[in-house]
């Protein structure tokens, strides 16, 4: 049960049950769709960019607790960040959940903050894609590509 409690931490369950920023943006100017063909999870990420900075972020979609909470916490943590900062944060997040252990992100990389709650994911390798779907989709929205992102 201890591994499970590490995975399904209170913060994650809270964001799954009450996802934040779960809506389109009235002033949004970027959108990207993500899809995990293995489980059928779909997500759309909406951004309002002001120059190079994420002014606002939202998402919609259906998914498991890990993917929904990840999207919810992601939208909270990228608000106000520049594209470069958001991408650096994704890199750090990916290291956290995929568990390489050694940080490739430079010393200047932003701190994970609340995103640390996903550290339990590394014990569940098949769930890494759930945790990273929203981030891959965000990356594509930041790059402003039109194609649907797939985890495969």
């Amino acid at each position: 049960m201890s591994d499970l409690r590490d995975l399904y931490q209170e913060v994650i369950l809270d964001h799954y049950k009450k996802p934040r920023n779960f809506h389109e943006l009235s002033g949004g100017n970027r959108r990207s769709d993500g899809y995990n063909p293995l489980c059928g999870d779909r997500i759309s990420v909406f951004l309002e960019m002001e120059g190079d900075r994420v002014k606002d972020a939202g998402f919609l979609g259906t998914g498991c607790a890990i993917s929904t909470a990840s999207a919810s916490l992601m939208t909270e943590s990228v608000k106000g960040k520049t594209r470069e900062e958001a991408e650096a944060l994704f890199e750090k997040f990916h290291e956290l959940v995929a568990g390489s252990g050694e940080s490739k992100a430079g010393a200047g990389a932003p701190s994970l903050g609340k995103l640390e709650v996903f550290s339990g994911v590394r014990e569940f390798p098949v769930r890494v894609k759930c945790a990273s779907l929203a981030w891959h989709t965000l990356k594509s929205a930041l790059e402003d590509t039109a194609e649907t992102v797939s985890t495969e």
């Binding site: 591994d3 399904y8 369950l13 059928g40 999870d41 607790a65 769930r127 759930c130």
Partner: protein
């Protein structure tokens, strides 16, 4: 054989008389293992079944003392391996109730069997404007080969809907069947919902309309007795690995008359009689459709699996599994917030469900840590998921080696899932 071995064989046959599941479980070595420190509860049988000792031994025996290429050599081992492999074909013929071993074509699995029919029969018989009739219950492997065929031949794919229980809408089937219908492709048992389809009626109606019928029997072969002649279907496809045999072997049954008229599927060795650069003449059935060295050990293995199933009896297997399904349905519907997806009048061995407010993937992960293996996701049947308005389900699927105690463990673990998410 040693003394205890003889004694245990005696106990075993006595156990089968009264279907003693504990003794049957001893035939499956993997059921003794633990997962995350807990006894394995394997409820993912619709994905693949576990293998009894006799099948594992048959494969080992082949590699230790019979390994050789078949249908080619004049030497002792080649003759021995050929005999064993062809004996496997004979057992499949009996198992399916086919009229002749010429009608039993070894392929890689159900998927390849369907692709063979779509490519060979389909491309030679289906023309622009023709229709292929499938159902809403189909696995992707009984959808996509027909889509490819329709694209190539400019034919149309028509889909029979299902009702809210997961039963085929037979009124719609009758309505959609037309003189343009060339092929009806339908699963015997749905992998996602467990629905048993009324094959005999479907075949009768299709034949009245001049269409041939392919039955995807991947989920039926391990659970119910099959008689292709009684069904009168034109093609029947099965996978070895779902019926306690090794992976990598499946069977396409086809009526001899149809197979004779069909062009080869793949070219290569073994499927020819003679080859010059101008022309090749093809081998007789079933070899015309078996190009290249086949999966010999799996052909032998599927024979051993059928012997094993015969020793228990498909009738008793079906009875035990039905009891498990009824018990599981009762125990699981007692869990508040649990909804069973698929409540067809006739069902086999599959229980698909969702828990309110909890995604199936999360259910699967938590159950896994309890040692319980189930399938979560769309089960390669996305149209079925769409029909029931869910992105995915959790699916427990049973085999005759499963027990009521394992279903109790499943129910207890599901309560734990709800606890985690409370």
């Amino acid at each position: 054989m040693t003394g205890p071995g003889v004694a245990s064989a005696g106990t075993r046959s006595a156990a089968r008389e009264r279907f003693d599941v504990d003794t049957i479980r001893e035939d499956f070595p993997i059921l003794r293992r633990t997962v995350y420190g807990r006894p394995l509860v394997y409820l993912d049988n619709a994905a693949t079944s576990q293998k009894p000792r006799s099948v594992i031994d048959a494969v080992t025996r082949y590699y230790e003392s019979e390994n050789s290429n078949i249908h080619r050599g004049v030497h002792y081992l080649s003759e021995l391996a050929t005999r064993e492999y062809e004996a496997g074909r004979g057992r499949v013929q009996r198992f399916l109730g086919a009229a002749s071993p010429s009608e039993i074509i070894f392929v890689r699995g159900t998927t390849e069997a369907i692709n063979l029919v779509a490519a060979s029969y389909g491309r030679s018989k289906v023309e622009a404007g023709d229709e292929i009739l499938i159902t809403w219950l189909e696995h992707h492997s009984n959808i996509v080969p027909w889509q490819l065929l329709c694209e190539q031949q400019r034919a149309r794919l028509v889909v029979v809907p299902i009702d809210d229980r997961g039963d085929l809408r037979m009124d719609e089937f009758d309505r959609l069947l037309s003189p343009r219908t060339k092929i009806v492709a339908v699963s015997h048992i749905s992998n996602a919902l467990g629905t048993i389809n009324p094959i005999e009626r479907i075949v009768r109606r299709a034949h009245e309309n001049g269409a041939v019928v392919l039955v995807d029997g991947a989920q039926a072969a391990p659970h119910i007795a099959i008689d292709v002649q009684k069904m009168d279907c034109d093609f029947y496809a099965i996978s070895g690995h779902k019926m306690y045999a090794p992976t990598g072997v499946g069977v396409l049954y086809g009526k001899e008359k149809l197979l004779e008229a069909m062009p080869p599927y793949q070219g290569g060795g073994d499927m020819i009689r003679s080859v010059s650069f101008e022309k090749a003449t093809y081998n007789s059935l079933p070899y015309k459709f078996e190009a290249g060295t086949p999966n010999v050990e799996a052909g032998i293995g599927i024979g051993a699996a059928i012997d094993y199933l015969d020793s228990i009896g498909l009738g008793r297997i079906a009875a035990h599994e039905q009891e498990l399904l009824d018990y599981a349905t009762r125990v699981l519907t007692d869990i508040s917030g649990l909804r069973v997806i698929g409540t067809a009048r006739e069902k086999a061995s599959v229980l698909s469900f969702v828990l309110e407010g909890i995604h199936p993937h999360d259910i699967g992960t938590i159950l896994d840590r309890e040692g319980i293996a189930i399938r979560t996701g769309h089960h390669c049947a996305q149209p079925v998921m769409e029909r029931f308005g869910v992105p995915a389900t959790a699916r427990a699927s049973f085999a005759f080696y499963n027990t009521k105690a394992e279903i109790d463990a499943l129910a207890a673990a599901l309560r734990k899932v709800i606890e985690v998410f409370r």
